[in-house]
Amino acid sequence: MKQYGGVIKPKTKRAKRFLDNRAPKLTENVKNAMIMKGGNTSMTVTQALKDIYALKKPSAVLYKKKNITRPFEDSTSLEFFSKKTDSSLFLFGSHNKKRPNNLIFGRLFDFHVLDMIELGIEKYNSLSDIKSSKCPEGTKPMLVFAGDAFDHENEHKCLKSLLTDFFRGPVVPSVRLAGLEHVLHFTALEGKIYMRSYRSLLKKSGCRTPRIELEEIGPSFDFILRRTHLASDDLYKTAHKQPKALKPKKKKNISHDTFGTKFGRLHMQKQDLAKLQTRKMKGLRKRRGPAAAAVVAGETSLKTTEVE
């Protein structure tokens, strides 16, 4: 019988299903994001939050009221909200004189803050500013990260992981080829991060793979990296730990070498080499008299044999 850690023990099957959906699982659900406003927000920030909510729908919740908290100082109210809505990503927008047009992207592990990164909006074009036909809601976007900063700098690496987590959508086994429409492009250059959102048009090329033409649709941001709060290494390690059941099962006695050849191992009983049945060569038969020494025609090796 499952122990329901929590105040409520389910009395109906529907409640039980609801709680089971929120319980820790082997393969997890899509990460939900909660988008909220701080004590003071500007037009830019509210519009930006609405646009990102549109990108992240339906696995996001947008809160209308202002929450007077400071995530970098006190994260208890964030954790409370995440427990209520079962969200593990958050986006907190605020505006004050010291940090104008501030967005904090963050994620939680086990309802405690894992890491958060603060980005300031320098330039912003909203969805409504750019007049073009948009992609349908819920399309899985293609993500591109350009710039060597994403590879060299620690904070940028963390930002890359966070943005992938935020925008990737549900993990699917297959995707419709015609539905690969949405592209989110992040460029890291000179301490700034440029985010652009395009709609990809698949044009005919001579061969099977189509030629891509891009059309800018969605919100475009020019971010500047401000504060960060990264978790300790062992917290990261715990968060990345995958359950053993998900590991692919290793087949015994099969190995691959560097060229990709598959090798198999056969285990044989001990054989008496003198009494082996080999090919009968009449000429090599033992003759009475000073005959040539019998040569065993083949020696079977007991070790590896090439398979395939």
Binding site: F109, A178, L189, R208, T209, P210, I212, H240
Partner: protein, 302 residues
């Protein structure tokens, strides 16, 4: 001459191929890395800042994005596709980027009371193999069915025809049926010391389904009403005759007893027996003769 033309043809073919591929090839210094499971591409090339400043920012970014997306699409198109309900779908591999989990992995649930007991006792779960139709049993069943059809008798139940695997219930049922199929309906068959009496050997009541044949139900209801309406009582001849006979017997035996009880008590038993038998026989014959008219009278009195 022919050789020249072949070379020309080949050269032309190569040119065509190159042109075709030109539209989708992209030149990059460093190859970009992909995580197709997540549809992500990582371009680690250095970005030329001067070029970035010369051009308009958006145009530069757009062309960079176009190149990177083209490479990503090329990579996606390399994967196997399949057709699912008139739609072409590409099968994505497992995602390769390690992303942190939402919640810690689930803990194994504690064993139930039965599981603990089974572990203690060493009971293992026995997997029931899928039942496969046995050819030998099929032949046997058909043979018995043919015999039944030929002799117009009923086939014994499915459990009684021999099959390869017989469960305990089948065997016990077979034993019980065999026990009852003696001349005296199993009355004198002894049970083994620890054998239990067979249960569920009563007559099974059969009911008509609630919503079945409407016309037959209607007919039944109407017949019932007709019987309830009729003034004449229904007569079961057999029942009436038997009842009358029993009454006569009782009267006779009562009379004999009174006679025998008053007079000869010594030989009372013997005389009673003989007289009773003889009397009974005579009485019965008489009774039988009178039966039907008597019966009708009796019914009338009733």
């Amino acid at each position: 001459m022919a050789a020249c033309s072949i070379e020309d043809v080949l050269a032309k073919a190569e040119q065509d191929e190159a042109e075709k591929l030109k539209s989708i090839t992209v030149q990059k210094e460093l190859d970009i890395e992909f995580d197709i499971g997540n549809l992500v591409a990582y371009d680690k090339n250095r970005i030329d800042i001067r070029q970035f400043r010369e051009q308009k920012k958006d145009d530069f970014l757009r062309s960079l994005a176009r190149d990177n997306t083209q490479l990503l699409i090329n990579e996606i198109w390399k994967h196997p596709t399949e057709r699912v309900e008139e739609v072409i779908v590409v099968k994505l591999p497992e995602p390769t980027t390690a992303l942190p989990r939402e919640k810690p992995p689930p803990k194994p649930r504690p064993p139930t009371k039965w599981e603990e007991f089974a572990k203690l006792k060493g009971i293992q779960k026995k997997k029931k193999t899928n039942l496969v139709w046995d050819d030998v049993a099929k032949n046997e069943l058909h043979r018995l069915r043919n015999i039944a059809r030929a002799q117009k008798i009923k086939v014994p139940g499915v459990g009684l025809t021999p099959t390869a695997q017989q469960s305990t219930t089948d065997l016990s049922r077979a034993v019980n049926v065999a026990k009852v199929s003696t001349a005296s309906a199993g009355k004198f068959q002894d049970r083994l010391p620890k054998e239990k009496a067979p249960r569920n050997t009563g007559k099974k009541r059969k009911f008509q389904p609630v919503i079945g044949n409407f016309s037959s139900e209607k007919q039944r209801q109407l017949d019932l009403l007709k019987v309830m309406d009729s003034k004449k009582p229904r007569l079961d001849v057999n029942k009436a005759v038997n009842k009358q006979m029993r009454e006569d017997d009782r009267e006779e035996s009562a009379a004999k007893f009174r006679k025998g009880g008053k007079k000869g008590r010594k030989g009372g038993n013997f005389s009673g027996k003989g007289k009773g038998k003889g009397g009974g026989g005579k009485g019965r014959a008489g009774g039988k003769g009178q039966g039907p008219p008597g019966g009708k009278k009796g019914a009338g009195k009733r």
